[in-house]
Assembly symmetry: C2
């Protein structure tokens, strides 16, 4: 139970109508896109940074653990409340404060939705590249907390590369501003970088200064169809060697194509065992054309069965649809999909994909693989059903095997989903004891009482 004094203090800070203790609000804030669940004691909705600081001071004094919540689209339980704790719902901090076209920078509050920010930037001929699949619902604050990626990151880099500064509030209620509006500001210990991908365990982000790139004016989309995954992997490797970096390079295996085909009615001939979707872009048409030619050349060299090219907006949409249909298509195959986003060095993609086929065979489970080839981020989907107890157990063993294989191939547990609660137990596979020790020391320096999103990551 929350004490009456605490309730009064919180109501004084944010107003009666922004403190929720009823079961409905608590239930809707109990989980994220993962299957973890914990009922918070309260949901508090601050209106501004000063209120966030005041709320944290009250919680700090009363040793109440907290979690910051954006859109709740995370896959690893990052926004699931700590036991006996509060959810600080950032929903009201949702304004785009400024777009500065000279500095190519956007100042935003954390609950601005990724796609909305992209759309706003576009009005100024600017471009915010990080594009996680959840971009229409995920918040920029959440993107930063998890360091989200997306198809375009192969060329443009991940969220981390776009954060020029931020404002965060510590558990003790200090408001700290980092970075600055200058283009080159790094000469001291980098608190900005520290907050990125720390999954809400060090501070609550209340403002972001995000870099914007020039808007590419021309794009071309090329779909390469291949007779084997090995050829698709070879094309990706060859592409990297040319020095031309596509703005997207997405691969899909035969199982993925089959699912998409069943779902959308778009058929591929039987000899197509893998496809790679390339996008190239540029500020000028000439620059784009040069890259497009290179992609076609590389596909031909690896004996592509077919090369489909989209020039018009409608044709491009038709090709992107194949990629976008994957998620809904997979949902029709089986009730439960265990979705992991492991990452290996690009050159190891063919090896890991091969090992995943073996793992599927060994544990008799269906595994669908697709991903961002550019940065080695592979989405491994183990299709199963929790009701079928034995199959579900085999699926969980398969997850273990996939993580082990990933680490053996010099990879990491997560490309962009984070660790949260979901991947905690595999952390020792990835990080040395020393690395863990110093990360924990850092956490302790920021939050000695372990009240800010406790129990996550470690």
């Amino acid at each position: 139970m929350v004490s009456q004094t605490t309730i009064k203090q919180l109501q004084r800070i944010v107003g009666r109508d922004q403190c929720f203790f009823n079961i409905e609000e608590r239930l809707t804030h109990a989980s994220d896109a993962s299957s973890f669940r914990e009922l918070p004691k309260a949901v508090i909705r601050p209106q501004n940074t000063a209120q966030v600081a005041e709320i944290l001071r009250v919680c700090h004094r009363n040793r109440i653990p907290v979690v910051f919540r954006g859109s709740g689209t995370g896959y690893t339980g990052g926004a699931v409340p700590p036991q006996g704790g509060f959810v600080i719902d950032m929903g009201c901090l949702n304004r785009i404060l400024e777009i500065d076209t000279h500095l190519r920078i956007g100042i935003v509050e954390p609950m601005v939705i990724n796609a909305e920010f992209q759309a706003e930037a576009k009005k100024y001929n600017l471009f915010y590249p990080p594009d996680p699949a959840s971009l229409k619902s995920a918040s920029l604050g959440g993107n930063v907390a998890e360091n989200s990626g997306g198809p375009r990151c192969v060329k443009y880099g991940v969220t981390r590369d776009y954060v020029r500064g931020l404002e965060f509030v510590t558990m003790e209620g200090s408001i700290v501003q980092t970075g600055c509006l200058a283009d080159h500001f790094d000469d001291i210990t980098d608190l900005t970088a520290l907050l990125i991908s720390s999954e809400g365990t060090l501070g609550g982000i209340t403002k972001l200064a995000l870099s914007l790139a020039p808007l590419p004016k021309h794009t071309a989309l090329i779909l390469g169809l291949f007779g084997s995954m090995a050829q698709a992997a070879a094309v990706i490797a060859d592409m990297v060697q040319t020095g031309v970096t596509p703005s997207a390079m997405e691969f899909m295996d035969a199982a993925t194509l089959q699912a998409v085909s069943t779902y959308s009615g778009r058929h591929f001939s039987e000899d197509v065992q893998a496809v790679v979707l390339f996008e190239v872009d540029g500020v000028t048409e000439a620059e784009t054309y040069v890259q497009y030619e290179k992609v076609v050349e590389v596909c031909q060299k690896q004996q592509a069965i077919g090369i489909q090219i989209a020039d018009t907006f409608a044709e491009k949409e038709r090709l992107w649809e194949i990629r976008r249909n994957i998620s809904p298509a997979l949902r029709t195959i089986s009730p439960k999909k265990i979705n992991e986003d492991v990452t290996v060095p690009r050159s190891k993609i063919p090896v890991l994909v091969g090992r995943i086929v073996e793992i599927a065979r060994k544990y008799q489970v269906k595994i669908v693989t697709f991903g961002h080839a550019g940065d080695g981020n592979i989405h491994v989907n183990i299709m199963t059903d929790e009701i079928k107890t034995q199959e579900f157990q085999r699926a969980q063993k398969a997850v273990d095997a996939v993580f082990n294989a990933t680490i053996e191939e010099s990879g990491v547990l997560s490309g962009e989903h984070g660790i949260g609660l979901a991947k905690k137990k595999w952390i020792p596979l990835q990080l040395s004891k020393e690395n863990q020790t110093w990360q924990k020391r850092l956490k302790k320096a920021f939050d000695p009482g372990d009240l800010m999103n406790p129990g996550k990551i470690f």
Copy 2:
């Protein structure tokens, strides 16, 4: 004095011939490229990471402060020994361990010289872009500790953007590995980022994994001559708006041109009050040509007095020489140059340059200004002579005024030289109390006894 027990322990670790207590070695390790100076008690030269860890354990037990030393090319006293402390000279950790062309990564020890690494990468058709002016003597470890920039950073980013992982040793002697060889690895608190630009205050870097870019095969160099600094600044602003990013965009004011002219005999007509040197590059010729055309168009739009174009290697060298001659040319003007590398948002360059002209007038000192326009990093050189006491005092007041103007124009104290000892006193201008508090907490978490490069930054 160093105790006999400590001497014996150190000699056992690195061998008798790698421990130096004689005055000659201590004197040559007393300073860097700044004017700060402090005689170390000893100079120790480890051969590998394990020895670094053992040395630190001995120093930690005996509360002996230490500083890590690379090439000693820093301008802010970062490598100047702490009082009563030891210099750990990293000179022997100088091997390029691996260049992986598939992963586009180089694994190096910290004392590999920047230019040597660039040359090695080139053999594999790869490119390490960060290019501080000191690249022929500065170490990669030092570049990372200070987060060095350079002309190419406008297009390619600074050192920070190229560090994929590192190994460091804490004051207690823990060896910590961070990052990994995967292309997208960031989902946990980022110890890599923490070490970058921390100026040797958190850990000693013993290994680096650095990203490499595809080697641009074509470049073009364009020198725009302008009748006023305002026009030069306008060209820079226009260039940014086009979305085409040159691989270098260096500006020089009239005072700089005059110095270069006297030094090298290369004359500019009197109406030339500022020049901008543009380099564009690309993997293909077509891509490079498109950018080249855009630069010329933008220069013409701003009524350039002249546009000089270099196509051949020899012509390019001739143009780059103008830029490279600045430093030696300035040395001939006056015995002492106070060299500061402030940074402002690109759009504020004309304002700050104007204010610097005012400051020079007010304090009756000669100030020469040039810099990397792309990232707003302006090198402000106050030409003076320590023997002329009154002028030198005015020069120091001018430095103060430049820093104040920089902060007022939303800038920062340093682009790439770091804070070290030289800029400590201006830190409160730039960082809020809260930011300083949390940076100090971080330092305390890593080095509670304040033994690792103490007294720097704060």
